[in-house]
Symmetry: C2
Subunit: 263 residues, 2 copies
């Protein structure tokens, strides 16, 4: 290899090494920021920071043995999630609160959030409609039989929390038409109407990006992460009475529970 | 009001009514598309459609008593979620599959997905590090004591599924350093190392939008919805041994379980 080429080659290798090293450093920094953000998120959600601004970046850096840059980057991640904001002259403040929905017991929204405020429901649609096959099958009604379909936007203390699509067999659903759906969980109404307690529910949880229309209804940014809950609820005698598709705003709800190793 | 003004006023009102009616129609269409998409999503996830393309739009429209426009819009929503795609000359095909993670029993990823394929783990970081206060407190080790920190990218049949950050007390963690973490759940290793079964775990689930770096690691689009699981796992004697922050790709994982009304 001619000397000029060798030199060029060395220079290129040097540049490549620098780029690789730079990328590795950036990756490491991002990994550390994520790690710290997860710890801080937990602290925010459990109210570990007293009211008012978060501790100063220097203090957080010392407490978490992180660099100031990592602290800043971690706070940026939490800001992008809408959990904190940076106010000039004040510092970083908690701006959003997530409410814990129980995963241990089958509960309606107003029940599970009772201590956090008042749940109100805007009924967007309500009426009988022929059940599509997968709804009929799960509610054990003849295919095409009418079921009651309800669509509600649910709020906690006025803030949109979830968009719920609900199917109820019509023999029970008819009584719901005159019920106070604005202020009462469907769960409680079902127990009153049937005179039986609910028994169990099969649930499935997913994280999805909100489509434009769902986002608009929930007053969330387009593409916002949504915790999607599908739930088929049965009376205590095993009859399925309530099929729901619920979109919770990801920035306002957490689901907590206890799992055991042995069944 | 002069006649000309009255006419203008009427015309304006007419236009306003038309705009309002148009908006109402569009809203109704979007609501119906969401409703249908939720039913189809369920069918897709449970494998109700045979292999190959979905039934033709006309057939879906008849089956679900929806207009063709609604069917098309519902399929667009599922396409935006990455669940289906439209192939010219073929129709709509299922392109993504979501794997069910059990919510009823405390299980490791390889355990819960055993029937779906092989889980492999890329260890991105592993080593002892001083425990920040919230980690020390939850693992019941002295603040600042070293804990083992592990960061893994977990794959099912080669596809990125989750990014897991794990903290383990060092007396147990040291044995993990030589273990086959690439191919074995931490849960199983903890039981082998301690000679005790795991007991229970406190879990919290959230939906968040992936930050740019996490998205890149998970090979998901920036902002993709992520199912975030925080889990503190205890041995059967109650000792906390494993604190994890897990980001599941929202388009690849569902969590399913059973809830009961009475505790």
């Amino acid at each position: 290899m001619p000397a000029a080429d060798r030199i060029r080659d060395h220079a290129a290798q040097g540049a490549a090494t620098t780029v690789a090293a730079h990328r590795a450093r950036r990756r490491l920094r991002a990994d550390r920021a994520r790690q710290l953000a997860d710890l801080l998120r937990r602290q925010l959600l459990t109210g570990a920071f007293a009211d008012g601004p978060l501790p100063h970046e220097d203090l957080l850096a010392a407490d978490y043995r992180a660099s100031r840059n990592t602290v800043r980057q971690a706070l940026d991640l939490l800001r992008a999630e809408g959990l904190v904001d940076r106010l000039p002259g004040v510092g970083t403040v908690v701006v959003a609160r997530k409410y814990p929905h129980g995963l241990d017991r089958l509960m309606g929204l107003a029940e599970t959030l009772r201590e956090h405020g008042r749940v109100s429901n805007e009924v967007r649609t309500m009426g009988p409609a022929p059940a599509p096959a997968p709804v009929a099958e799960r509610l054990r009604v003849p295919a095409g039989a009418d079921v009651l379909y309800i669509e509600r936007l649910r709020r906690l203390n006025g803030l949109p929390l979830s968009l719920d699509l609900t199917y109820v067999p019509l023999d029970i659903g008819t009584a719901l038409l005159d019920a106070d759906l604005e202020n009462t969980d469907v769960f409680r109404l079902l127990e009153t109407i049937t005179g039986r307690p609910l028994g169990h529910a099969e649930i499935t949880l997913e994280a999805v990006n909100a489509d434009a229309h769902s986002a608009a209804v929930l007053q969330a940014p387009r593409g916002a992460a949504v915790l999607m809950l599908e739930r088929l609820t049965h009376l205590d005698d095993g009859r399925p009475v309530d099929l729901e598709f619920i979109r919770f705003r990801g920035d306002r709800i957490t689901m907590s529970g206890l799992l055991r190793r042995s069944g």
